[in-house]
Symmetry: C2
DNA sequence: ACATTAATCCATAGAATCATTGATAAAGCA
DNA sequence: TGCTTTATCAATGATTCTATGGATTAATGT
């Protein structure tokens, strides 16, 4: 009732707003997307995003102040990562709202994504079934560094630049399932498009690695954890829980 | 693969960022909170928020461009409302992240909320059970206008300013459950605090009206829909679905 | 101690955002 | 047609945000 504390609400909202503001920049969303693939040092993020080192550092600090990421030192580099699995959910919801309500977004998705692959993607649940039957080959089309930080069990890494040269390594008698950074990443769309033209039976996985991991499904890490790489805290693997995440991602320049 | 379309991702992220930016201002979050209570004309929002009319109009248009709200004309006034139930989820998640990751937020909640009522709130599911047994009295402590736009079935409206004068209307032999705009709104905390000091058995409902409605639970509207008031599109009432929404809100100045 | 690498700090110019004021448009009423 | 109510449009300074380049700090190795 007292007037004196009636601005507590305003202070709260100002804090909430600061979190939203931190997400309110294309470059910072791009960084969040990259961090959703795994923990990374600043310079790596700079090259992957095509932005200047100083610039990236500033953006990361802004994300840090907003509580969206955390950092730790390893030797002389500083490793950043998402602070919480809920951050992924937040960005997913943001993208979903934009996709539902902004015609511009739907137009871009139509032009640059659907045209490359208008088939229904494979669900996580279905992929798990097929993996048990050894029915499919899973390819991870993200850059090597992200693959090493963590990937689907048994997946082979075929980054965009190498796909065309390494077609011979891909078996022709089995179906291919490709995945990348998430539903707003073009890399898996492009890979599927290329593979289909070459006569492969290729499909996309719904969403990407971050959503798979966030659903608590099993992942493999090439760096045998000697470097102490940290993952997001998520629940353990329960096959019946093919959670209902939806997330985001797009190709780095 | 082509370089030409590699900026599709940037365009997408720029769109996503514009939605986040729209949420990146305390006043706009306040407006979203007010709109979560129901459809309202601009001037009403201006007085309820304590902001200037022109200012509010500008903010609403920004929210509109970002796809978070929609507007329609009724006579000479323009009614705004949330564009989608998912917008509520988005803001809820935003607040949740802030609450988890920002110490400042936890401190404010501790100082201004928990101190007024440290008891566990009543869950929606439990309230439904008790309503069937006519076991409790539900009071809605929001301003009259918001109450009229929609409220819990059988709730009585007791806005903050009138609570102290109308204590005699409240039965002393039954437990009181108070609710307001949401989990970040102090009004129900304050009401419960006042009532307890007067010897009532009072409890808070978890969250507030928007979350109740978003969960698909039954609501009552005092304006018998003659004005064509529109609500968010939500599922129909299923008692077993006491959904897991979590939302936001705080007291207007 | 010195040099090297990795990241942050600092200063600055250019751009965007915010609140306010006054003017304009749209709908209803006399 | 005037007149009122309601909201948007347009223009203005004050503030904040963004990207860049140079200086500084921290950790490592010689």
């Amino acid at each position: 009732m007292s007037i004196g504390e009636s601005n507590a609400g305003f202070l709260l909202f100002a804090q909430f707003a600061s979190v939203a503001q931190a997400m309110g920049h294309a470059h910072r969303l791009l960084l969040l997307q990259l961090l959703a693939q795994g923990e990374r040092p600043v310079e790596s993020l700079a090259t992957a995003s095509g932005l200047g080192l100083t610039n990236v550092s500033q953006h990361l600090q802004r994300l840090n102040r907003a509580g969206l990421v955390t950092s730790r030192r390893r030797g002389r580099q500083v490793l950043y990562r998402l602070s919480d699995a809920l951050v992924l959910t937040l960005v997913e919801t943001l993208c979903k709202v934009a996709e539902r309500r902004l015609g511009q977004v739907r137009a871009i998705l139509q032009d640059h994504f659907r045209n490359l692959d208008d088939l229904k993607p494979v669900s996580r649940r279905e992929l798990i079934q097929r993996l048990k039957r050894q029915d499919v080959v899973v390819i991870d089309v993200r850059p090597l560094e992200e693959f090493l930080a963590g990937h689907l069990p048994g997946a082979m890494n075929l980054p965009p630049g190498q796909l065309e040269q390494r077609l011979s390594e891909i078996p022709r008698d089995r179906e291919i399932v490709a995945y990348c950074r998430g539903p707003y990443c073009v890399m898996s769309y492009e890979a599927v498009h290329v593979l289909r033209r070459r006569g492969f039976k290729a499909l996309r996985l719904e969403d990407g690695y971050p959503e798979w991991q966030a659903a608590g499904l099993p992942v493999e890490s090439s760096s045998p954890n000697g470097d102490g790489t940290r993952r997001l805290p998520v629940g353990r693997y329960r096959p019946e829980v093919v959670a209902k995440a939806t997330s985001f991602t797009s190709r780095a320049p």
